[in-house]
């Protein structure tokens, strides 16, 4: 039996008296399409931060392909093959789209350690960056500063950066948040076409997206796992309906 791509064991996090993650257990096999849902403040983003090491857990373990990564700092975990997107864009706004993706690749390959070579001469990095942009239909915007793009396309850059990290595990934090519905299909198309070898954990409020995309769903409420199951099981669960779905329907745009 191979180890799960991502495993979370008894993960615990409290800020003082406030418990934001309480005894969370989760296992994602390789290539999983797993959704994380729950009302606002349930601790979904916190869980992503705990997985990447942006926040240190109080106790418990995170395992990547069977290896415990909890003692590693964020950079060490990322280099093991974790990438994430952010709920609110975290882009290099003054830089061009190409430079944004360039940074992700050169940090991954170590090209960023070079001080004496022109950045424009790193043809391997540039070619790969353009490949990523091309697959997301962003090549036409390559030379534009990110801040000049419409928000929907900025969300695509957010994903392009994460994909350029060539992750084994991809954590998508509300990838379509803030995108007008006329543009959200752009992002959903990209997510549906993701390499099946990449393990994906997605936080999403839009239930249509969740049911279309995910094969398993975990419901998080107040820092605890309420239940986990297939979309059908979750949809039929009365508890989920009462704590989440009613509210979620209103949340969904």
């Amino acid at each position: 039996m191979t180890a799960p791509a991502l495993e979370i064991r008894n993960l615990q996090k409290n800020f003082g008296a406030l418990q934001v993650a309480n005894d969370i257990n989760l296992a994602l096999p390789r290539g999983a399409r797993h959704a994380l849902i729950g009302p606002n403040g349930a601790g979904k983003t916190t869980l992503v931060n705990l997985i990447t090491g942006r926040i240190k857990a109080s106790s418990g373990e995170v395992l990547l392909d069977g290896d415990v990564i909890t003692p590693l700092p964020q950079a060490g975990r990322i280099r093991r093959g974790i990438a994430r997107t952010f709920q609110v864009n975290q882009l290099f706004r003054g830089l061009t789209v190409l430079e944004n993706v360039y940074l992700a690749i050169s940090e991954r390959t170590g090209a960023c350690n070079r001080l004496w070579r022109s950045a424009g001469k790193e043809t391997q990095v540039i070619d790969e960056a353009l490949d990523h942009l091309q697959s997301l239909e962003l090549v036409g915007d390559a030379c534009k500063p990110v801040r000049e793009l419409p928000y929907g396309r900025q969300r695509l850059v957010e994903i392009a950066i994460a994909l350029a990290q060539r992750p084994k595990l991809l954590l998508l934090d509300e990838p379509a948040a803030g995108v007008p519905s006329s543009e959200s299909h752009l992002i959903l198309d990209v997510i549906e076409k993701l390499d099946p070898n990449i393990t994906v954990l997605i936080i999403e409020h839009d239930m249509d997206v969740v049911f279309r995309f995910a094969s398993r769903i975990t419901v998080l409420v107040a820092g605890e796992v309420l239940t986990e199951g297939t979309p059908e099981e979750i949809a039929a669960d009365e508890r989920v309906r009462s704590v989440y779905l009613g509210e979620g329907r209103q949340d969904a745009r």
Binding site: Q90, R114, G120, V139
Partner: protein
Amino acid sequence: MDANSPPASSPGGVIAAERKRAVVYLARRDRLRVAEALPWLLAIAAYFVFPNQMVLGSQTLIMILFALSLDLILGYAGIVTLGHAAYFGVGAYTAALLLVDLHWTEPISGLVCAAIVAAIAGFLSGWLLLRYRGLALLVLTLSTTIMLQQLGNLFRDFTGGYDGIPGINIAPLFGRFDYDLYGHTYYLYCLGVLLVMFYVVRRIVYSPFGQALVGIRENVGRMHALGSPVHWRLVVAYTISAAIAGVAGALFAHTNTLVTLGVFDFDQSAAVLMMLILGGTGWLYGAFIGAVLYMVLQNELAKLSPAFWQFGIGLILIAVVLLARHGVYGKLARMGRSLPWSVQR
């Protein structure tokens, strides 16, 4: 959807052309523009037009170099410091002690030694301090510099204390060019060193490493999420910056024949920061414009009112910060966006 993005059905030719455009854009970002010769031509012109102002000229070139070293960390990596005089001072004292105590008078090797010692100081303090940002970093850099100054005062037998080290006389440049009373050789010496250092900084800024520094400035959180060793990158940049500030300090020692603990003064750290803000951070050439403006203003205002010249500097700095947020160079670049010398921003 954006009008410029290709539809999915667009022929491969369009995409190929757009890819090519992007490759060319990145490859030509750091090409030398014709107008980049301008500051150097002006510096050479100044040599012939103002032959009696070479002492001021040399001091200005030294401050340009000092401000340039600050631009690498402040303008590109976004490190705000109020203690950059520390490395200027370490460089100046290294050069001075080498000459007076060890009688090592060859200037170029003196600069190299100053750069190395300042780099070590930069590496050690950077390693400790760059874990912090913002206000904490401001206070830490400021107090580090004060402590260095007091350390110099404590070992006054060695450093001469506030009376300083007099009698710094370097050997002729390359063993051939001696120094005249009016500082002509000093000026050319400083100009040559500035040119070499500028080349180094320009290479670094446009390297993948320089790109990563800009990434840290633009969004440090995302750099962490990319797995970037942010602290290490900042320490490397800080060390290089310290080395260059050390070279500026050594030039100061070489051209002034006297170094006192005043080089560590808070005024020095503040002045170089003001110069860079005046000229504009993150452009490389902001250091040139800012230092020249500051030095000339200081000189002229001091003639008008020896006691209150700083009032004028303050007034002008306020005007620049309010009216030209990206400094004088930033304003110029914005006015002439097509100017070939507008650098990445």
